[in-house]
């Protein structure tokens, strides 16, 4: 497993796998396979994939620690950038296919639908994280400050879930929201538990040591 993760092709392979949902959506849109309302299908699917990648990237550290596989940390930055990629496509799909890039319409819509404002806030908060994802930025900020900044992801996850919850509340349909909320709660809960546990057993490796492996 570790050999596989350290293989030179591991990163390019992951990159392609992460791009598959996008390629599939793009192909479906071109070949008119997105059903009766392709705009809605694209907006919803890219939103779903943003949440999924957010869950995946938040799972990296717990998985790495639990399975004692430091090599997993190599993939965290790319997965995080894919969260940003899918949210960007999500935002573009909404502004283009739903709003026709009409800024006045978008502003009116955001006022009407606060859940869009919440989603947009999450996107804005994610932007500095994506912008500081390269090594030079980490060096310039210093590991401590960079880490502080990237803790924003926990807030972003909360906003993303609220955005999804609010959107689904129109139909009183919370089954899927509950699944994502449970996953995020488990991943964040594990971190809280780690901190609490680390205080009791100072020798246990915490998430802080992991980031240095970047």
């Amino acid at each position: 497993m570790k050999k596989l993760l350290l293989h030179p092709a591991a990163k390019p392979a992951t990159f392609i796998v992460c791009l598959l949902p996008f390629i599939w959506l793009f192909y479906s849109a071109l070949t008119n396979q997105l059903g009766a309302n392709p705009a809605e299908a694209l907006i919803r699917a890219t939103g779903d994939w943003t949440l999924r990648f957010l869950c995946i990237v938040l799972a990296v550290t717990p998985l790495r620690v639990i399975s004692n596989t430091p090599a997993l940390a190599r993939f965290r930055r790319m997965l995080g950038l894919f969260v940003y990629f899918y949210v960007l496509v999500h935002l573009l799909s909404y502004s283009w296919f739903d709003m026709g890039f009409d800024v006045a319409d978008i502003v009116r819509d955001i006022i009407k639908r606060p859940f869009i404002l919440v989603g947009f806030a999450a996107f804005l908060l994610l932007t500095p994280l994506a912008a500081t994802s390269f090594n030079a930025a980490i060096r310039r900020l210093g590991a401590k400050r960079w880490q502080m900044l990237h803790k924003l992801v926990y807030l972003i996850a909360g906003l993303g879930l609220l955005h999804f919850f609010w959107m689904r509340s129109g139909k009183n349909d919370f089954a899927e929201v509950a699944v994502y909320a449970a996953i995020v709660a488990a991943l964040l809960g594990w971190r809280v538990w780690q901190r609490w546990g680390r205080r009791k057993h100072p020798a246990a490796p915490g998430p802080a040591t992991a980031t240095r492996l970047q």
Binding site: A29, G35, A36, N37, P38, A39, E40, L42, W96, F97, D98, G100, D102, R108, D109, K112, R113, F115, G170, K171, N172, D173
Partner: protein, 332 residues
């Protein structure tokens, strides 16, 4: 100045606004003459071409249910009819799931035979109709209506049915009957999502008596020249073209005449969002989104701007007078 674009949709005028009554009645006599073969062949072929333009292709999936061309004002829009595939795969029918692809997947379990519709409440002739008898109660007509969903999308659907007024006249409502309530099927054995907490089952909708009596209010048994597919509300449903789609109850089992405004399903779920009237109105937004525009399914491509929603879904000339003097912001 009112500038018409491709996105503003088709605006119906009342024929009498344009043509004096005497003139169009003469034309109708001419058409009658043609039907009996008395008029010249040239004019007959011209009339035939007109009829062809309106022809709706049968999908060939279900039993045929032909309907004669409707003479009701505003009943046949000239807009492009939405593909049968889109109309039958993109549905809101929560008894079969909340995703719009769910009804097409799940509604095959619905049992539509035998089916009865009970007429109850404030009527002289309460009775239960077998669906076979209800279909024969009046001549079937084809009506091509716009359908505007409260969610902001629209379709153009060729329904087959007759004016609900035909049934109402037969059962003779009492003088104190002010509302008509439509109770739809709620059978947990055949409808997998009945029992989910999304709505209070059965799904109930209602109209004011004058709305129910309006000739455009259709009791529908079919679409595209065939009987209704299950996901579209087989075997009998309501179609009220000037109101948001959810007002048109599917798979109706009971029609009740009452003196009090009934509580309707979505009104019970969220009274501040879904009013009793729920007339299509671009000037009155849903609390959580704008109702000014809509996406025409299958027509407005990915890159097209959404088209403007019309007052009363474009049926203002026909139904506007029902709401004369009413504050439509208050009675949304």
């Amino acid at each position: 100045m009112l500038i018409k674009t491709d996105h503003s949709g088709f605006d119906h005028a009342v024929p009498s606004d344009i043509t004096p009554q005497g003139v169009y009645q003469q034309r109708r006599n001419l058409i009658k003459l043609m039907a009996t073969g008395a008029a010249g062949a040239t004019i007959a072929s011209w009339a035939g071409r007109e009829a062809m333009a309106q022809a709706v292709t049968k999908p060939g999936k279900l039993a045929a249910l032909p309907g004669a061309k409707s003479g009701v004002a505003g009943a046949v829009t000239m807009e492009k009819v939405t593909d049968y595939k889109d109309v039958t795969s993109y549905n809101n029918f929560y008894e079969f799931g909340t995703d719009k692809s769910d009804p097409a997947k799940n509604a095959h379990t619905l049992v539509t035979k035998p089916w009865t519709v009970a007429i109850e409440g404030l009527v002289k002739q309460p009775r239960t109709y077998a669906i076979e008898d209800l279909i024969k109660l009046s001549a079937q007509e084809e009506r091509i209506y716009r359908l505007r969903c409260v969610e902001g999308w629209s379709m153009v659907i060729p329904w087959v049915g007759y004016s609900l007024a035909e049934l109402i006249k037969k059962v003779e409502p009492l003088g104190n009957a002010k509302y008509v309530e439509f109770i739809t099927q709620a059978d947990p054995k055949t409808m997998p999502f009945v029992g989910s907490r999304v709505l209070d089952w059965p799904y109930v909708e209602a109209l004011r008596m004058d709305e129910a009596m309006h000739p455009l209010t259709l009791l529908s048994f079919g679409m595209y020249g065939e009987v209704l597919p299950n996901q579209s509300g087989a075997p009998v449903r309501l179609v009220v073209p000037w109101k948001y789609g959810f007002k048109s109850g599917k798979s109706i089992v009971k029609i009740r005449f009452t003196d009090k405004e009934p509580r309707t399903a979505w009104n019970k779920a969220a009274a501040s969002e879904y009013g009793f009237y729920s007339n299509v109105n671009p000037a009155v937004d849903h609390p959580r989104w704008s109702q000014a525009t809509e996406r025409r399914i299958g027509e407005d491509g990915l890159f097209a701007k959404k088209r403007k929603t019309l007052m009363f879904n474009g049926y203002e000339a026909q139904v506007g007078q029902l709401y004369a003097g009413m504050d439509l912001k208050k009675f949304y």
